[in-house]
């Protein structure tokens, strides 16, 4: 009885803010972060990054004097929760820019963003579907797509060892399978032999058959996609036991310190491609700025991961688009924001990335780093590689 009454009361209380559709004149960003769920490690960092950039921008005068409003919600890395959060935030705050939590959500909302919402949109994803300006000019990513990342790695391999034997090791998910088809094409173009494709569940405990298969096919380079930490570490460790002498590489989400810690002394075996400078590269001006800000505001935080950098970069671009769109006729609207996005050429971001030019709604630039087991850091082993 009491329970029902409480329920009805709180329901009515919450109807209040819903029914007021506030038309915001100030530039507003709304984001759905995967704050809980399997991607939580990225969501926590990402939401901190967005908050930091917005705070920094507002301290520096905002968008031509107007303060940027920023609201976010947790999407639990579940599509329906994320989509509900998206619609809730949109109905409440009427933002001009939105940020999503996953590839799935992006795919689901893409057509509606184009036809109905018309907001500039990016997400925790590097799927090629979000970097297709002809199909959907509102979606973009501030990073190379997974396919472009594969391209960077394969280009690097082709230079190191032409005609090498390649294996793709990916997870049985959207995240894992996305770049594989295009990756096969790139292999052919670069004259590399794709000899094996291995699949595993994200938490796979036993990857013996996959490792043995790669050994039998004499794989030289194995590229991981769709995993963050396990079973990459298990594969690398067990390949030593089974006598597989391959070099292991990975894409953006696995090229993080947490993987190096997991690998321990085998960290030197892992090479990865990432799009941004690392937090420990203190000589990079933008990294220095981030470090100062972090140490001032969050003295307990010791490290900011690449997920932080990705959101940081995206939000930098958001702010820049706001500024440019504000000067256009009609002010800050979704369409003006897309035009502003396309106008970003050679935008200086203080070394976080090389000067940014948006190409086909992504930034096809990457850098290859190798793990260092002694310093537990990544050392750059290539310069910034551009994919054309």
């Amino acid at each position: 009885m009491k329970k029902l009454g409480l329920f009805i009361l709180s329901f009515i209380l919450c109807l209040g803010p819903f029914s007021i559709a506030m038309a915001q004149k100030s530039p507003t960003i709304c984001a759905v972060h995967p704050f809980t769920g399997r991607f939580a490690f990225a969501g926590i960092e990402g939401s901190a990054a967005m908050q930091d950039v917005v705070d920094m921008a507002n301290e520096g005068g905002g968008v031509n004097g107007k303060k940027i409003q920023y609201y976010w919600a947790d999407g639990e890395y579940k599509d329906d929760v994320g989509i509900a959060a998206f619609k809730r935030l949109y109905a409440q705050y009427n933002p001009q820019i939105m940020f999503g939590q996953s590839t799935g959500m992006t795919k689901a909302l893409g057509p509606e963003i184009k036809s109905r919402y018309k907001v500039l949109y990016s997400a925790y994803t590097m799927t090629s579907e979000a970097a297709n300006p002809k199909e959907n000019p509102y979606l973009f990513i501030a990073a190379p797509t997974y396919t472009e990342q594969f391209g960077v790695l394969l280009k690097y391999i082709a230079k190191e060892k032409p005609g090498a034997n390649i294996a793709f090791f990916y997870s049985d998910t959207e995240f894992g399978r996305e770049p594989i088809v295009a990756g096969r094409e790139i292999c052919k173009k670069m004259g590399l032999n794709l000899v094996a494709e291995e699949v595993s569940q994200v938490g796979g405990v036993d990857i013996t058959t996959q490792v043995l298969d790669m050994k039998g096919k004499k794989v030289d380079y194995c590229i991981f996609q769709g995993f963050v930490s396990n079973p990459i570490a298990a594969v690398i460790k067990q390949s030593k036991d089974y006598g597989l002498n391959a070099k292991f590489m990975g894409t953006f989400w696995s090229t993080e310190l947490q993987l190096l810690r997991e690998l321990g002394p085998l960290a030197d075996e892992y090479t990865g491609v990432t799009a941004y400078s690392f937090y420990f590269q203190e000589d990079v001006p933008m990294v220095k700025k981030i470090r100062e800000w972090t140490q001032k505001k969050y003295p307990k935080v010791e490290y900011r991961s690449q997920s932080y950098m990705e959101n940081y970069m995206t939000t930098l671009l958001f702010v820049e688009c706001f500024k440019r769109a504000d000067k256009m006729a009609g002010g800050i609207t979704g369409d003006n924001l897309t035009k502003a996005l396309q106008s970003i050429k050679n935008f200086d971001v203080g070394g976080l990335m090389p000067p940014v030019s948006i190409k086909s709604n992504s930034i096809p630039v990457g850098r290859v780093y190798r793990g260092n087991s002694k310093t537990v850091r990544f050392d750059p082993i290539s310069d910034w590689i551009r994919m054309e």
């Binding site: 919450c14 704050f35 929760v81 619609k87 799935g104």
Partner: protein
């Protein structure tokens, strides 16, 4: 307050709406349902639609688990089968949305029949695990049968149409959902007071005795699976036409758990329990989200503590519900009604 409440024949006893009082309030409720889309914003309509789909799915599961006593952990797979069938029919074979819905239900029902076969050999927990196995096997098929399901890329579905009228927004789709929900609820409510419904309940309570009485276990158990999967298929087909996209990751094991929670918290073996459960399981997480948003705006740094607390609260609600009111929301509803029926003479 009702008094002089006596029935003179069986037909009157079996009536679903037994008094003018109930009929009056039901009419009011329908009027509310019709007025609702004109006063609500897009987000609330989205939630309303999701509740509608959940109701249909929950009724299906309740028919199987609550009325017939067959525990099924595979409900999400049947929703997926219906969803994919509808999507493939619409996009690949050009079937209209209206035809694809019942077809999707039928294909799901067939899947349900197949998965129901182990129920003839095993009961209880073992059946539970068999259906769980089916859930994962279907999940595998969704991802790997790429020629049909386009694997992880998924299928984009155009919005449903009647002639030139398109149902694009949440408000438009609301009407479709309402129609199907009313149909589904009506059919289920009638089913449970019919011969088949009584057979189901008999199987749940004492299946050996039921067999002795002449109820063909084989036929009725499979029928229960088929009908339950039909509902699931329709729910899935509606859901993905609403979302306009279907990907395999829409049907994880967690979805089964969610539907089970709806049915159990709502009340096993009761149609109105399914409705309550569906509403509860959809609204409460959203409410918790809104509350945590409000708390977040007062204490911005506490995000890391507040947001997971939502999960704790939710789990806690389910656990305490089950401990203190194991027969679910439907039972609470009945108690309220009984209280008012005899008020003020409730002693």
């Amino acid at each position: 307050m009702r008094c002089g409440d006596y029935k003179e024949n069986y037909i009157k006893d079996e009536e679903i709406f037994q008094s003018r009082f109930v009929k009056f309030w039901l009419a009011l409720f329908f009027i509310f349902l019709i007025v609702f889309p004109f006063i609500a914003n897009a987000y609330m309509l989205y939630i309303a639609n999701m509740i509608g789909f959940a109701v249909i799915g929950a009724i299906g599961l309740n028919l199987l688990t609550g009325f017939t006593g067959q525990i099924s952990l595979g409900h999400a797979a049947f929703i997926g089968v219906g969803a994919y069938t509808s999507a493939i029919l619409i996009t690949k074979y050009g079937v209209s949305f209206w035809l694809s819905i019942p077809l999707a239900g039928l294909v799901s029902a067939l899947a349900g029949l197949v998965i129901g076969i182990p129920s003839l050999r095993v009961k209880g927990l073992y059946l539970c695990i068999a259906t769980l196995a089916a859930q994962f096997i279907f999940g595998f098929v969704f991802v790997h049968w790429e020629s049909m399901t386009k694997g992880i890329t998924g299928i984009h579905i155009p919005p449903p149409r009647i002639g030139s009228l398109q149902f694009v927004t949440e408000k438009d789709f609301y009407w479709i959902t309402i129609v199907f929900v009313v149909l589904g609820v009506g059919y289920a409510r009638n089913l449970v007071r019919s011969k088949m419904g009584r057979a189901f309940v008999a199987i749940r309570d004492r299946d050996l005795a039921a067999e002795i009485m002449g109820i063909n276990l084989f036929r009725y158990k499979l029928t229960a699976f088929a009908i339950s999967s039909f509902y699931a298929g329709v729910s899935g087909a509606l859901w993905v036409s609403f979302l306009k996209v279907v990907i395999p990751e829409h049907f994880p094991f967690m979805l089964c758990i969610q539907y089970l929670a709806m049915v159990i918290v709502g009340g096993l073996g009761s149609v109105i329990g399914s409705i309550f459960g569906a509403v509860f399981m959809t609204l409460v997480p959203e409410l918790l989200n809104v509350l945590s948003d409000m708390v977040k705006s007062y204490a911005p740094g506490m995000g890391k503590l507040i947001i997971p607390f939502k999960q704790v609260v939710f789990g806690f609600l389910i656990v305490s519900f089950l401990i203190f009111e194991p027969r679910g929301l439907a039972e609470i509803w009945n108690r309220i009604k009984k209280f008012f029926t005899l008020w003020p003479f409730s002693y």
